[in-house]
Assembly symmetry: C2
């Protein structure tokens, strides 16, 4: 498996507008996209930083994965996403190596991309996502 | 201020050798550098991923910032570091905007680079680092 890049680093926030404003004011950066992803229970904004992105993730309700994350841990770094060329092959390799996968098959995430999550147990508490870049 | 890139994403780990082995086995990536940084109380390994890096941070003792982080929150995502061209100017801008800085002046971090940390309070719980890239 080849990790092409860090596609994005995701931060869980309570107030998306406020987080976007803060990044604009402090770092002079703004979102290149903003999207509601009902299947994940979030509204997300992508901020381009060099060849990668910061993803601001705001839960649509408390009873969602990101909502529960904020309730238990507070706002902050949520996951790291790697770009891969072939996500099905990557998942097969990880399964063969015994990694604990949340998604054994790719599903569709923000921007219509194929994504899959690897359980934090596989990497000592760090939630990782794979994103197929075509 | 211009954010040039995500310089690295840092993950706090209890066992650096084990974390390196796991990344090599699961993702086929290995460190491009490994360094003990006594001033920060860590041994760190940098893994190149595309134009960015994953930084594995292992505390030298429990009574260090990363050691206390692991004690209170467990292993996992620790901070995100942005590359900037002029760290002194970036810190001045952040101070002018009222951001809560851990380092008001740059100090020397891993690889001999000028770095500074911005307090998690400035970004809703996310510890951020600036790294000057010359």
């Amino acid at each position: 498996m080849l990790l092409l890049n860090i596609d994005h680093v995701a931060v869980a926030v309570r107030d998306l507008d406020e987080a976007i404003d803060r990044h604009r004011r402090l770092y002079g950066v703004g979102p290149i996209s903003r999207e509601r992803v009902d299947s994940q229970g979030v509204e997300e904004a992508m901020i381009a930083v060099g060849g990668s992105h910061l993803q601001l993730l705001c839960p649509l309700a408390d009873d969602t994965p990101v909502g529960r994350f904020i309730t238990s841990r507070g706002e902050g770094l949520h996951h790291i996403a790697y770009a891969v060329a072939d996500i099905a092959a990557a998942l097969e390799h990880l399964a063969d190596e015994g990694a604990d996968l949340i998604d054994r098959e790719p599903r569709i995430g923000g921007g219509g991309k194929k994504i899959a999550f690897v359980h934090p147990r596989a990497f000592g508490g760090t939630l990782m996502e794979l994103v197929e870049i075509s």
